[in-house]
Symmetry: C2
Subunit: 416 residues, 2 copies
């Protein structure tokens, strides 16, 4: 923090809260296992509510367990929302999600400390089941709040033990009766760890998030001929594994082309048949996860990808089948919200970059019903969904201060 003028968040209190929540579901390697709607999720919810009650905030819980903690404004104007999720991956990190919740809570407490009034109310939300690890799909609470998923459908979704979302909500006592859907929202700002390596590698403390990548997922199957590894000369084969290797190298080359503009392209899953040491493979299967902000580029890359892979298959005398199995459009966050983040960063003199989220977040759903943006802070080595997930005190403080100033801009500081 350089040349900061008051108010500023209380980093000691924020770090203490992060440490207290990290005890709830703590793993032996310093991460957390806090799957949604479990006993430990309930404990995290209880602690959040306890702190918020003490501070005098108004607490509402909707019928999907989303928790809304409101600090009133001077006027009855549309609310400025912030927050994130409290659940984690199995053996996940202690910052993913909960950082955004507690940075928001710290902002509300700081406003109390400094007796700052805002024109608009500010509402902190802890969304139910962002991770989707126990109940798929992910980002469920925000999907229901933004009416992209029917609550009756979601209630019936079961975990691997056959327990439904509704049963789990009832068991931890978090099916609320407050109707929050439909309230006027002025803006939404979610703070989150980056979950990638870009900020740290560029020595930047804040990511001003301008949107989220569109995604196209593919499944590719190559078919050749199973032959004896000893008796078949290498130039007489129809080797499906070799074809797959050429495809993966070509896809990487495509992704690294300057014209591909930092597309995220991943082959993460591979299988082969018969998958035997001394048999030339007759079948190879792999997946492609391709993400970019630019819809036109994504469409163009799909054309290039299909053309390149088909040409490789032809050259190696293989059959190829390319199926697109998922297509999600890119999300463009709201220019005024982004600008509020920019101003908050400038005020605080933090090194920053504008960036696009490669991962999905609750803010992506919220952007469909309200002006939205996000604030990223770095995480060490970009590690996330990992017990080793870590942040520095400096990043922790910077993210919460930027959130504070952004919310003050959007909720309009009415004076102290």
């Amino acid at each position: 923090m350089k040349n900061r003028t008051l108010p500023q968040i209380n980093i000691n209190r924020l770090e203490q809260m992060l440490s207290d929540f990290a005890q709830i579901g703590k793993t032996d390697k310093g991460g957390v296992t806090r799957l949604t709607l479990t006993k430990v999720d309930q404990q995290a919810r209880d602690l959040l509510i306890s702190i918020s009650k003490t501070a005098g905030f108004k607490i509402r819980i909707d019928n999907f367990g989303n928790i809304f903690i409101r600090r009133n404004g001077l006027e009855d104007l549309p609310v400025v929302m912030t927050g994130s999720h409290g659940d984690s991956q199995p053996r996940g990190g202690r910052y993913d999600g909960i950082y955004g919740v507690l940075a928001g809570l710290e902002v509300l407490l700081t406003l109390n400390d400094f007796n700052i009034q805002t024109r608009h109310p500010i509402e902190l939300v802890m969304w139910t089941n962002e991770e989707g690890s126990r109940f798929a799909p992910a980002m469920m609470g925000s999907a229901i709040f933004t009416e992209q998923l029917e609550i009756e459908t979601a209630y019936k979704i079961k975990d691997k033990d056959g327990i439904s979302v509704k049963e789990a909500l009832e068991k931890i006592g978090y099916i609320g009766t407050d109707k929050v859907i439909g309230q006027p929202i002025k803006a939404v700002i979610e703070a989150h760890i980056e979950q990638g390596p870009i900020l740290e590698l560029n020595n930047q403390t804040i990511g001003i998030v301008t949107g989220a990548f569109g995604q196209r997922w593919f499944e590719v199957k190559l078919t050749g001929l199973a032959m004896h590894a000893g008796t078949t000369p290498v130039n007489m084969r129809q080797d499906a594994i070799l074809g797959m290797a050429h495809c993966i190298v070509a896809l990487n080359r495509l992704a690294l082309k300057p014209s591909s503009n930092d597309v995220r392209l991943t082959v993460g899953m591979i299988t082969a048949s018969p998958n035997s040491r001394n048999v030339v493979a007759d079948e190879a299967f792999f997946t492609i996860d391709m993400r970019h902000y630019d819809a036109d580029l994504l469409a163009d890359l799909e054309i290039q990808l299909r053309s390149e892979l088909t040409s490789i298959a032809d050259q190696l005398n293989l059959n190829i089948n390319i199926q697109r199995v998922l297509s999600m459009p890119a999300i463009h966050f709201d220019e005024q919200c982004i600008d509020a983040v920019r101003k908050a960063v400038t005020k605080n003199h933090y090194a920053s970059r504008e960036m696009i989220s490669g991962a999905g977040h609750d803010a992506c759903h919220l952007s469909t019903i309200a002006p939205t943006s996000m604030i990223f802070i770095p995480c060490i080595k970009g590690l996330s969904h990992n017990e080793s997930e870590a942040i520095t005190t400096e990043w922790c403080q910077a993210g919460a201060n930027v959130l504070l100033d952004t919310l003050l801009i959007l909720a309009e500081n009415g004076g102290d």
Copy 2:
């Protein structure tokens, strides 16, 4: 067959015998499942013995179920052996192994037909468990006969149902008492289908087999870092699957270099971890099966292979571990035996090539105790270990005629 002078084998009888044996363990797609020491293997043994008895040959069975069918020579000289195996892969082909047995039997019957006497006795052998599908390792009967495997060790080997080799031998009644090991052997000639595509693609009918490839097998493990597919730019990854793809492409390029002299190099087995669509893989594993006749080249290729793969891993910031898990020297067959095959081919005017076996055969073991060579005939599209395995009448006849003339050279035609 062009300009052939008598004697020649009876192609109708040979094809009839091949057809009769193909009924034993026949599969619905025209192949056979005749695993070693099963009821159907017993039936094939019984039929072989029945035909041989009728023809007046002397039958011996050793304590591993290897069957020796002897046609006496004019003198008590070292024996000239031929034959192959009667067992098959599960859902295997109707020619793999049994062709060499029945071509040998047809030669003995032809010698009877033409009243030809040889100076040396000729002995047809059907070796037990060449495939190794039911009881590993493969080529077991010839390994025991050549004293490369202890019989007491082999007896104890069990199939997946817990039945031992000894129990299986007893059950089908083929533990013999004849001691054949140690008898003087002048030469061994095994006829076999090529199990590869080279002869057919070159319009050649006979392969004069000069040896068998040496083999080196490797296991390679690449280790990177698991990262989020959406948040990690492609140029900031340590992607183990990408590393594997580059390795497989480089290995193929190495195999196709003219200086690599038609090395057989196969990546047949691949796995990755976590093998998830939207996670950059932190681990990839693959196998390499590398075969060549030239021991120096094989050693040199191992050096090149290690250097190339290590360099790829370094460039992509991955750890690499390369383990050699198998090393078998090449086998050089006996020049006089090879020359006998050459002369027989020349006499018959068949299109031929000298070639090295990429697969292991009983003849490989026998070559360690006696002068040995092999005769290959083509199989359609090189398919083998496959129910579609097929040969033409022309090839079938050619192989048996070459075997006849080779055995006549080696056993020394004493006149008719």
